[in-house]
Symmetry: D2
Subunit: 333 residues, 4 copies
């Protein structure tokens, strides 16, 4: 039984880790921290989990996590770096759900505007692309939600160096903006709307760039995120202008081959966010028009886009079946 | 042309007054206050109104409103009482959208837990019930949103003293909770839910009691409010246990007679919130079962439940047609 | 391993049975019927289940189900009675999700306007109330969605004969109206609305009456259903006028005692539909005002209100743990 | 007073024409047809319009429209061509809201797969682009909803021949799919999703192509439509790869100049569908990144995208102020 700790257990990704791990047959959550909720029971913060945990929130101090085999850090960007090193130093593996270890040090410092004094090399935890490195990793940088959907949509064509240009137009559920109320998450501001933001300069762009350039050096990428009036899910339209002429059938073969054996990649005629909700699947549909290919990916932003993929990575790191504890269907409708 | 001032122009009711009055043929908004937005143009706070106003927000001081014929106070409960007296003293009529003048002084002080040193008698501005008094009023206390829907649903039977007991189960759009983000208005907390609150003790209960007891002294009232995942509208189910046996047709006649000549009361086979959205109508449907009558009312909480009724009252106070500037259809769907 | 058949596998309750049973450790779905989809794979009708089933839809004929230990009939009211007897006759247990066996024969025929020539006595499958009879049952009539939420909210007080009158005001997600498009389920007709229907005469009323009268003969019940703009969930406000004076604490004790040992009943300070979504829980909150008690129950209409409770009943009938295959947390948010 | 007829008055665009024209000071609806509703009052089909019309639906025969100055045809594609010629022949002006006259005859016949025996040349009714021709037109082909948003977003840069390539990624409210229930409009199929369709081959593409090529012959266009879970609105992201280097300020100037004097074009820092809902405005925001410009337009698909623009065109055809009867603010929130 893997002993699991969670640093930052009150947000949506923390809550989702708790939900997923509550039924994982080979893992047990033994410590969860929250500075502001120390001493409260899990279900006092997460009423939906009533009956599933009997432990209390603790402070995010090493001594409270010392029996852990692995710690998930689910705190905001810039905070994770305060916790990660102490765990690594005592031999506890870490899966970081923040952005702190996803980018090369220099890129991180420029994009996030923050010094990174105790930088560690991490494996970028997009499991389908880096499975072998994750097996041996001490520190996994769990990917951002948008990059997960975008990279999975474009990687097979990029690996073949077939992409002239790709425009990612992505739509996320609002849980991506976190559990704290803001103008952005205020119900009347989202209802009956679909709201683009950081239209030409979202930070997740750099993750896409780093990963896709590793596959095709001369790829050109554009990205615009937006939120739609729903809680969960990211739908990404990858408008791909191809190098050379490919038929739809050929593209499909490239994707099937690339993702062979990947349990969480499913090909659908038409993807739909509610076909993946609550699950770790990334559904993909492939469409070829006269001018371009459109590859559409659908994930649950809190599962494959965050906590589910984190658990998938834990499984890989500990030699379990990749879908252990994640092998259940989406909640439709 | 009536010169209008608005104290508190940044919230939803302030914005809705600005929307409605922008096309009112006999009224002109000459002053709008907002402490935190002084000097900003209207459309910088309300982008949807771009092109309709050229004025700037001012401080809520008397000198900024001295050319007004009437002032609408659209500030939170407990604040309106700081502004209302100064306007009344210089002969400016006031329509207060807060709760400060809706209840008898003693009841207010107990229910709202606040002293009311400069209390004025006001006319309760449920236009259909108090039209004649409103004509002569200097100060109108505009009704709460829930009371508007509830009282209009029950008043005709109460006036005939036919009600044994009434249970109001009301569902409101979330704009009733205001324009500032809170846990309550946080999108994921409302989406896919319907959330009861102040289940047995909402303050609006006392308005219903005051108005309905004036019609039928021995009426018994119960009330539970809740929010549904939508922005606008209040649907009220009035479950009415009748004194004596009445057929559906008889009840309908009582309602038609009671509301004769009322331009904003419409009877429908089935009411629907989107049949009244954006308009000042109160749609009513009447259903009689073996055990009880169910009267259902539908209003737009920001219009008939707030700013629209306020303008309706202004029309009555200034001798205009009651539906002047309000005579347009709802926005469906 | 229990061998399971499903008659009617294309609707929402059929799909939900398939979802739940796909991870049930002691049950295996061996046959699923759908007249119109014979020969198609499960995931061609339910794309979210891709990867979970390899079988094809068959005709609803006995020979296709003859290896089953239990059959779930998930077809419309009036159709189930065409299938149920043939299974019972060959010793296959049946859990019927339609209304065909929930009511006494005479009541059924009057309420549903249909003759019932091959009527069987069934156990009413509200597990918390009839666990002992379900253990021995050959035929379980799975309760309606509204009755599940309403009866669970009122039963403890009814058993003590403490209810003068109860008004159930219930709000359901639209999946209760089925998977076929109608004016009722047309998106623009529900969005931004909350729609009452069958306001004084819904058929589920008779289930509530039958069950609650068995606990308290002189109880008086009123019921109004409505749909809110969400897919899943039923929230029921039970406005209960009490016989005698009870404090909130006393009521809570009555409920805790009544539901002692019931794994799927949870008490919450405030219930919320998204705290139970996707799970078999019925969350209950208890509120006492001056005039009445309000008991609020929240269920997922497709799980505890249909397919989840059906599986719960299967567990009981086959001597498994009551929560086998159902013991996972809700999907929040 | 312009006497107006509407052929096809039961759908969403017909209902919206009735809503808008009910308060138009210079127009009066004198005839509305609906084959299936002949003899019914307007409000029996459109309950939200109760109190605004006293006429009944008639058959779509010329004799019922012979006193009209103008007829709006709001029937499905392929049907309008059965009505339009008869009106033109007797000198009644026509504004057609279908696709039947938007494209060149040969293009129409290929794209819509239908012969067009009685083809008339029409003016494409995108008012901001063709105002002068509309003034003199007998037949106006009112633009499609997606083309309205897309063309208005790209036209100023196209006119300057500055576009290398543009990708339109558009999101529409579901009312664009019409008032009849289908799998597409079924609430649970849209809720919590955002659904792309006709991903590389939507018919509206040819309108965009025709209009934008007229401005810049060598423009390259890509288009993907999708529906989001809301009733009204189309948000279009125009990802524009520019020929040459332009700063954001220069682009803004180009747009301001191009739309000078256009009452329904508004520039916003950030557009939002609820800032235009119910109104005839097209709000535009302009964003320049390193790789491309993103121009975002927001319209109400039923107003500027259909019936509102049709009335705008009527105003122009009859020499009225362009915003007569349309000069009111959006309904926010």
């Amino acid at each position: 039984m893997i002993k699991v700790g969670i640093v930052g257990g009150t947000g949506y990704t923390g809550g989702e880790l708790l939900r997923i791990l509550s039924t994982h047959p080979e893992a047990e959550v033994v410590a969860v921290s929250s500075r502001k909720d120390v001493g409260r029971k899990i279900h006092e913060v997460h009423p939906h989990l009533k009956g599933f945990y009997d432990i209390e929130f603790v402070l995010p101090e090493l001594k409270n996590f010392d029996e852990c085999d692995v710690v998930f850090t689910a705190v905001p960007h810039g905070e994770a770096m305060n916790y990660v090193p102490q765990f690594l130093e005592v031999g506890i593996k870490v899966i970081d759900l923040s952005a702190d270890y996803r980018l090369k040090k220099e890129v991180y410092e420029e994009v996030y505007g923050k010094k990174h004094d105790a930088y560690f090399e991490a494996v970028y935890g997009l499991t389908e692309l880096h499975r072998e490195e994750i097996k041996k990793a001490k520190l996994v940088a769990n990917p951002g939600c948008y990059p997960t959907g975008a990279i999975l949509a474009a990687a097979p064509l990029a690996e073949k160096e077939l992409i002239e240009r790709v425009v990612f137009d992505s739509k996320s559920g609002i849980t991506g903006a976190g559990a704290s109320p803001t103008d952005f998450t205020h119900f009347p501001n989202l209802h009956e709307s679909i709201v683009p933001y950081k239209i030409t300069d979202h930070r997740h762009y750099y993750e896409m760039l780093q990963e896709l350039k590793a596959l095709q050096e001369d790829i050109r990428i554009s990205f615009t995120p937006q939120v739609f009036p729903g809680s969960r899910g990211i739908l990404t339209n990858a408008h791909i202008f191809l190098r050379g002429d490919l038929e739809e059938g050929e593209i499909k073969k490239i994707y099937e081959k690339f993702y062979e054996g990947c349990k969480f990649i499913r090909f659908q005629e038409s993807v739909k966010l509610i076909y993946v909700r609550g699950s770790n699947f990334c559904d993909i549909s492939i469409h070829k028009g006269k001018d371009r290919a459109v590859i559409i990916s659908a994930i649950d932003n809190l599962v494959k886009g965050a906590s589910g993929q984190a658990v998938q990575n834990m499984n890989v790191m500990f030699g379990l079946e990749e879908d252990e504890g994640l092998n259940y269907p989406p909640l439709f409708p």
